[in-house]
Amino acid sequence: MYIAASLAILVTMGLALARALSGPTTYDRIAAVNMHGTKTVLLIAVFAFLSGRTDVLDIALVYALINFIGVVAALKLVEHGNFHTSDNYDGDVKEGEPK
């Protein structure tokens, strides 16, 4: 049953990868990669139970976080072409400013 679930997840990942390769816009690709990442998290989680090593779940947790950061970084790069342009167009920064 774990194997069947893994195979289904792999099929989904393949579909997401096909969308990422065919585009047509950059945003389609990023969205597909995001979906691929979510499925990777689930695949690792299923694999943890398939192999009986539940400590592997830590990796799934890390992947969930890194996936999100990756999407944010990719979007920022696509939008501005660099990482240092600020998103705060009106210069209204209050919270989150370091003390």
Partner: protein
């Protein structure tokens, strides 16, 4: 025994929903509609798979970690979708709307 059957059903249905979402991103015509298909894999599919695994784990640290994975996905996936949609709209990508 009942728990085993229930968790198998949850796992398999969840994984199947993932495939439905995968079909969705190929059938839907433009970027914004595809985001909705991705929404399926991010919410119900992930929820069912993780719930199925949590039933197998019982009350343990593994179950807590599955819950944390779910919480992270639950907060990050809509945020990522929103950021994508916002960036796409900001860059001038027009959605194909229904003209009626």
């Amino acid at each position: 025994m009942i728990i085993d059957i229930l968790s198998s059903i949850l796992l398999l249905v969840g994984a199947a929903l993932g495939i439905v979402g995968g079909i969705g991103i190929h059938r839907f015509p433009d970027f914004y509609t595809r985001l909705h298909a991705i929404g399926i894999t991010d919410t119900l599919s992930a929820l069912m798979i993780l719930l199925g695994l949590a039933l197998q784990a019982g009350w343990s640290i593994a179950a807590f970690k599955l819950a944390m994975i779910f919480v992270f996905l639950f907060f990050t996936s809509p945020t990522a979708s929103h950021a994508l949609a916002y960036a796409a709209q900001h860059s001038g990508l027009k959605p194909k709307l229904d003209q009626k």
